[in-house]
Symmetry: C2
Subunit: 208 residues, 2 copies
């Protein structure tokens, strides 16, 4: 319906996750109506981010330097490694302000239907980090005392967690997993049965 | 939380309509994980669309030529002009396959709170088209016999329609407005009272 370059723009925008044909059209029209400098700035920012952003060679978080902000920060606790599926999970954990250790981004989760196998994840690199060889992050061998598995509480994340436990357990570190249970502020009445089951299973002793 | 170029990308994406911080982050991560060629193609498509797409000098639809596809198509009925607020409205009307006339894009609707006045819309250019002078579209003076007002059925669209009627009525053309009423496939029970009121007001004689 639209002429060449407009339809091309709508098509390209539709490929992005969570953007359907209607939103793509809305964004395209917005860009076409906005001052040229705005649209060109967006185009340049995309190209620049793609050119500059690499994976941290220690933890595989996105970074604009060879070693990311977390891995190079001397104030972080180097005895803890929190293992997440994707880089945005780090942002979620940082937001809690409860964690001051390091991270390790697996770059996915085991997903047989989508062809993601254990070997495709950055697990051997995690084991190398725990072993301390090669000590890329300068943390020294044996510095890691606890590995916190923070994969998603769903089928893929749980399968990945089990694989991680199997592979990391032989090493001299504590392996822990984020607690599952009722979300704070939620209603017990509306909790799904799996979450409620987990909350019961993981119940904590308060006294007596 | 993210390093410079990633946060820049998320910020730029968040400025787009209908894209909140969460979707912006999702799109940014998608772009960073996708092959470089894809992200660069998106950046190029945005820049190209912005450089190539102009407004048709006849109807003010988006176009990559001086005169758009509709205005330059000899098979379109040059006696009809359908007046819409924005270019995407043309796509919606074309989808009906019921209209073969020309269009005129006002580039907005009267909106006093947002400072959009009648003078800001492309109404004088519409009057010039009806008058046939200057006959930019080659349709010849007096060729237009009907102006169909297809502004949105809301406060701004109705106000714009009333202004259009006032300005176009002195000219020797029929001025019509899209019908308002119950949407096809809808339930009378769930229709809002304004729509139902309009449906009653615009009721059609079927016989007897």
């Amino acid at each position: 319906m639209f002429a060449g370059p407009i339809q091309d723009l709508i098509d390209e925008l539709s490929r992005l996750p969570g953007i359907g044909p209607k939103s793509a059209q809305r964004v395209a029209i917005h860009l076409l109506k906005s001052p040229p400098v705005e649209a060109h700035r967006l185009a340049r920012t995309i190209a620049e981010a793609k050119d500059k952003v690499i994976l941290c060679r220690v933890c595989f978080n996105f970074s604009d330097a060879e070693v990311c902000n977390y891995c190079s920060d001397p104030r972080r606790d180097r005895s803890l490694i929190c293992v997440v599926q994707e880089a945005p999970d780090i942002v979620a954990i940082e937001r809690t302000r409860e964690y001051r250790g390091l991270y390790h981004v697996l770059q996915g989760a085991v997903h047989p239907l989508e062809g993601v196998r254990v070997e495709d994840l950055r697990i051997s690199e995690l084991i190398d980090r725990i072993d301390g060889s090669p000590a890329l992050d300068g943390s020294g061998a044996g510095a890691v005392t606890e590995v916190i598995i923070a994969t998603n509480p769903n089928v893929e994340g749980e399968a990945t967690a089990m694989e991680l436990v199997r592979l990391v357990a032989p090493l001299p570190v504590r392996v822990t997993r984020l607690a599952s249970g009722l979300p704070i502020g939620g209603d017990l009445e509306f909790a799904d049965e799996v979450t409620l089951g987990r909350a019961l299973e993981g119940r904590r002793h308060l006294g007596g």
